[in-house]
């Protein structure tokens, strides 16, 4: 018999395993609550919605409140459950240390754009895509985006493997 699974070495693999456990638990629950005796289109659509929400929820809960984007997502879920409007939580800046005012050499950003707030315009679309992005400053936004992308790719990777597994078992 194989050894019991080792301690996970890095945070990302424990995040992945937390997500897997949560998501699989959610899938089991969805399957139990909405058994497919009749695979009507409505049922399938409902199930699709629930699976999608479960996937995003599982990831947000696995990240917990360590990130601005996950906090924003979690408060969104809670506000949907309760009927009241979301209370705007204050946005703490994380990870964003100011570097000393050294010479601004080799910057890829046009200084004029900064002065006119042009970078703000460029980040508008990104702010809409990242949960909680509207309230972040640019520094946080970029950092949060990187983490968000990592989590999304983990989501996709795990979901693909589950789909493949179910395909093979048919």
């Amino acid at each position: 018999m194989m050894n019991s699974p080792q301690q996970v070495k890095n945070p990302s693999s424990s995040l992945k395993s937390r997500f897997i456990t949560r998501f699989l638990g959610a899938l089991t629950k969805i399957n139990a609550e909405h058994p497919i005796s009749s695979s009507s289109p409505t049922r399938i659509f409902q199930r699709y919605r629930r699976i999608k929400v479960a996937s995003n929820k599982s990831m947000a809960y696995s990240v917990r409140s360590r990130r601005i984007w996950s906090r924003a997502m979690l408060s969104r879920f809670r506000s949907r459950r309760s009927a009241f409007s979301v209370r705007r939580s204050s946005v703490k800046t994380t990870n964003c240390t100011t570097s000393p005012p050294s010479a601004l050499i080799k910057v890829t950003i046009n200084e004029n754009k900064i002065a006119k707030g042009g970078l703000d315009m460029q980040t508008d679309e990104l702010r809409e895509l990242v949960p909680g992005g509207e309230a972040m400053d640019v520094c946080n936004l970029l950092g949060e985006t990187a983490h968000y992308i990592k989590c999304l790719t983990t989501q996709v990777q795990v979901m693909r493997k589950i789909v493949d597994f179910y395909h093979l078992s048919k």
Partner: protein
């Protein structure tokens, strides 16, 4: 309020290098694009645009996979397969 604005713009200037660093971190996460000249010269705007497109792609993939799962779940009892999946996924 002009002093606040000056403070904000100076703070932005100070963190430009950091923004550049963050942007290159982002660029490394993006899928490879066969651009011959995408050295350091890709502008912030390009990286942001590519990032937005990538996030949208990932959202669509989650959508699509949820859709496929919703149809596949119909045919399988999740309980028995769960342990096997977890084991195979964590390997």
């Amino acid at each position: 309020m002009s002093s606040t604005r000056w403070r904000e713009s100076s703070r932005t200037n100070i963190s430009e290098e950091q923004i550049t660093q963050l942007l290159s971190t982002l660029r490394q996460l993006l899928p490879e694009i066969p651009h011959s000249h995408s050295h350091k010269a890709s502008s912030a705007a390009k990286v942001l645009k590519q990032t937005c497109n990538y996030i949208k792609t990932l959202h669509r993939e989650v959508d699509d996979l949820s859709d496929r799962l919703s149809q596949l779940l119909a045919t399988i009892d999740a309980d028995s397969a769960e342990a096997a999946i977890i084991r195979s996924l964590l390997i």
